[in-house]
Subunit: 328 residues, 2 copies
């Protein structure tokens, strides 16, 4: 069997995304299904069923699959393939790599989902060609992954990349879920954007979102972005706050890590240059001159496919053509 | 010839430190001499002369030397062995590796001096045994080196590790030499400690340093530390400011890099726990829980020998027993 493929799985609290790509990283097919709640063995059985379906639908054979990578929303030990605890699944102390290999009868590799999303963008997305990359996802929280020297950087305990917990307002900010004050996540996530808009509405500030808020009872980050784009001064002020905090935090990180690129993903990044240009401007103000001149800040390209493609890269990294050596 | 040694050189603006160590990293001998001013060939000729002297004095032969590593106070390209420009030497665009190899007739390797100091502590100093390490030197400025995955991390242009330019007071701080505002270096270096004390003296604040300042006309960071230790409230306040800024900045970095250890060097670190304990306390306040619980903050151990030992490690890294693979 000559032609080989990799399988990648992005395991989320709500849904499972599975895809198959060539050894060069071209997506061949993908499938999505709700995540079964309950015991992790149910999830593994869903993996098995989805893999069978995908192969059948695309005329591929099990023998052609070199291995399976899985991105898990969890605190885990990559080398041991062990999951300590998960974020939105009720798992604890699961020897996931071993269990996966038994269930799927294929070599399996795991990493956390923030890292696999970063790996996807590094391999096939906006980060293509860069060896040193910072990936940030601005969503409900702010997640991150560091791609350094051509591989994901895990740090001592696998905790590296917690960009959302850089303190941007350590004295004056709000309390974060992590227990600290004024984290980037509490100031610039999609949740924070909506929070600041709702706070302004409650204070009776004049904004075009008033009507929507009164009829629906809530506001999304996307609403705030759209209103800011249309010139709403209250929403513009909120977005200025967000740009400053993201630009400032990314500049700090870049002064120390000297990346080639920064890739920003998550729902709000779809607003493109309206969202990114002010971040770039703030970044340049706070980055060292050579860093400011050379770092590219780019929107993520792969959307929901980044996670499974990055998970598939784990197979490439471990079993790829160059004999298990780190390669892009 | 069985027994082999490495030579390390720490090239400073004022003096050259050269040492010889075993392949295990035990220092055998070292020598120091003022740096000749002028053309870089004069420096290379001094290297040659010092190497001859060291070998002769210690009964070693040229054939026993596996290679020479040099730490240079410069912006350089490690792979190409090329120096773009230096900080305290008047060099520009020097193909240093090639010139060194021609002058010394040995394999030579270069890196910048902040990195070689970090490598020395990682290999034989306070960082022994750690694969992920942040090194900080609190001196005239604040320098840094990142030892990640068992090797120095350079970043895209070799600029990584600029810990001194993390902005801790981006809105309210003083102007830094780098052009930005409120860098860690302007708030917590030895220069900053002395600056804040002199400022307090000029404002007529009641401090025990008054007499010394009036008779000598200046104050050192060490004076401020000693006075703080003896209960001088003005100096204690300055040291609180320094501890907060160092602890805060190192916590930010650790939340993202998840190191095992942080090693703090430079003159003021010799004050030991009086200097380090308040930094540790502030660090714990601003680091994520697991990071705060696991990262050790330690004083540098090697003093002035860190630079040449780290430079010698460059030979170990490239020509060591494990065939040029990254190793500690």
């Amino acid at each position: 069997m000559n032609k080989k493929v990799y399988v990648g799985i992005d395991l989320g609290g709500t849904s499972i995304k599975m895809g198959i790509c060539s050894v060069e990283g071209s997506a061949i097919c993908e499938i999505e299904q709700p995540t079964p709640k309950g015991h992790y063995l149910e999830v593994l059985s869903t993996f098995n069923q989805l893999l069978g379906e995908l192969l059948l639908q695309n005329g591929l054979l099990m023998d052609e699959v070199m291995g399976v990578g899985v991105g898990v929303p969890a605190f885990l030990n990559v080398k041991k393939g062990f999951v300590y605890n998960t974020v939105n699944l009720d798992w604890k102390d699961v020897p996931l790599k071993a269990e996966l290999e038994q269930a799927l009868k294929l070599p399996c590799f795991i990493d956390n989902d923030a890292n696999t999303a970063a790996l996807g963008e590094s391999w096939q997305g906006a980060g293509r060609g860069a060896s040193h990359l910072i990936c940030v996802t601005v969503g409900t929280g702010i997640g991150g992954g560091l791609f350094l020297n051509g591989d994901i950087y895990h740090g001592a305990l696998g905790l590296a990349g917690e960009i959302g917990h850089l303190a941007v307002r350590p004295k004056t900010g709000r309390q974060c879920n992590c227990g600290k004050i004024g984290c980037l996540e509490t100031e610039a996530s999609a949740t924070a954007i909506a929070f600041y808009a709702i706070e302004a509405l409650k204070l009776g500030k004049a904004t075009t979102l008033q009507e929507k808020f009164q009829s629906i009872g809530t506001i999304t980050a996307r609403d705030v972005l759209d209103a800011a784009k249309n010139g709403d001064p209250v929403c513009q002020e909120i977005m200025d706050h967000v740009s400053y905090n993201l630009g400032f935090a990314l500049a700090q990180l870049s002064n120390v890590l000297n990346p080639e690129k920064i890739v920003i993903g998550g729902g709000v990044s779809k607003a493109g240059s309206f969202f990114l240009d002010p971040i770039r401007e703030q970044f340049r103000m706070y980055a060292l001159k050579k860093v400011a001149e050379t770092v590219e800040i780019l929107p993520a390209e792969l959307g929901n496919s980044a996670g499974w493609l990055g998970a598939a890269w784990l197979v490439h990294r471990n079993l790829g053509h160059n004999g298990g050596k780190i390669a892009k």
